[in-house]
Subunit: 327 residues, 2 copies
Amino acid sequence: MSVKVTIATVASHAKVSRQTVSNVLNTPHLVRDETRARVQSAIETLGYRANLAARQMRTGRSRLIGVRIDPMRNGIEGSVLDRFLHGLTEAAAPAGYRVVLYTATDDSAEIANYEELLASYTLDGFVLTHTHHGDSRTAWLALHDIPFVTFGRPWGATASHSWVDVDGAAGAATATRHLIAAGHKRIGFLGWPEGSGVGDDRHAGWLQALEEAGLASTNLDRRVVDGFAEAERATRSLLTTRRPPTAVVCASDALAMGARTAGDLAVIGFDDTPAAAAIGLSSVRQPLAEAAAQCVRLLAGLLDEVPVPGPPDHVLLQPHLVVRQSG
Amino acid sequence: MSVKVTIATVASHAKVSRQTVSNVLNTPHLVRDETRARVQSAIETLGYRANLAARQMRTGRSRLIGVRIDPMRNGIEGSVLDRFLHGLTEAAAPAGYRVVLYTATDDSAEIANYEELLASYTLDGFVLTHTHHGDSRTAWLALHDIPFVTFGRPWGATASHSWVDVDGAAGAATATRHLIAAGHKRIGFLGWPEGSGVGDDRHAGWLQALEEAGLASTNLDRRVVDGFAEAERATRSLLTTRRPPTAVVCASDALAMGARTAGDLAVIGFDDTPAAAAIGLSSVRQPLAEAAAQCVRLLAGLLDEVPVPGPPDHVLLQPHLVVRQSG
DNA sequence: TTGTAGGCGTTATCAT
DNA sequence: ATGATAACGCCTACAA
């Protein structure tokens, strides 16, 4: 490792005080042009970079944001978070932030991570995923005045914080309308048990599109916990009703893959996972890179020296349907 | 945020000097039992946690390690890195390290990240993935004396650093032997163009298993760049030879999925991605959590105050075959 | 065994 | 516009 170059190295090289170097970095308008140029060139030739640990001791800011990484709980779906994480890392860097990872399997374990990461590493803020009804994480963060943004609406709670989400209802409605346009009259829905914000949202979109078209009917939806086998079974049960659907909209690609093997019907999945692409499954794609970028934008806003006052920001992005052979 | 509790808070609470608190933390054997207990209880009641930024200024250690996160370059395969990343995060935490992410699309971009992360955040070390022939990253890191471990052998280079890898040749051989045991006499291989260390390794394993059984033959392997459609085409070409294979071992699940749609033959994939599980594809599974844990272990060893001297450590893990309907 | 003094690299405050 | 000084929280001498 080459010799350590600090603000003092730069200062002596440019024949100014350390403070002037600091001013060039943080409040350049206070420095005379000529001096600034001299310092800048010293910075460049020396390859100086501010030490964030030292800076943090003064400012309390680490330029580090925390994000949780999941175990791949539901197989196929894991790639959604993966893509989001990649987008987050990419968007954070130009904004001057780095992403620190932690794992947790439930809210309280995640809160324990917050405590550790805040006290030891002084993280500046967090991006939360997997919001759900009765989310205790947001309450804790708000209580302790920690900046954070959620990717996912605060389901069932009034939004007192900024969030970014993808309009799942709109996505499901788009998929449903696509099937209607293709001539389908009876279109089923395969989703998760009621109570999941994301799942209920997608279900609502399906229902609304059917109602718009005067095609709503009873007993066309099934709720199963995510799983290939269960999805297949549920779809068979749909297909053996008196008037079976000819197509089905699914709340996930995993469900859709199960549905597809159950018989001959049009199927549309959700999340456009790599598996969907590989097997020609039409699927609703979330703009994850955009969602991640928006999360960074909102969080960076919260972290600004002069935080923009005003109510929390909400961003609802539109997904789009990727049409393949399946429907 | 509750009131900040530093080493001084603890000291005054326990009625000792700051130094004694520091000793309790770093060199407990120097402190009398009674004093130590008093300090410990003060630490607990106050919820004190050492501030790593301050510690780092003295020790130069950040307890942060860097890992690259990829764009999902080849679709299906993305989940391999995802699982590795999860394992790394989980293994790092109990060892007292946190994972910082960065993105890069080539070696030189990655090296630029090293420079930034080392100078600004003082990362303690790196875990590299995607090792390849002529890898300039390891040379740079070694030159600058930065601790690092690679997940993946230093293909084509003499190993002057510690690494962890999974024995792809053994995995492919296991898959091949499984097919042989099932009665297959002509077994093909679908892989990537020559020159990829990982791909060539898997190819070698396939070949060896065939030779062992006296089943080796020419024109049974195909090399394509990863892609569902290409894999399908290549497999068809295999199936239209004079003496077509009845089974095929593939270097990835993506290739395997393509092979499967090409016709009626037994197929075994590689990496056991979620997609493989969903469609009943047999696949060779890498012990990624174990690999990640070993990477952390080796890197932590390099980072120890008293680094264990001796040659670099190499860990080669064995994958295992997950048998499903496909073969 | 415990305490005192100084400094890591930075920025805030206050002079000049 | 620039510089001197102190302080952030911690650890490493060294002194008591």
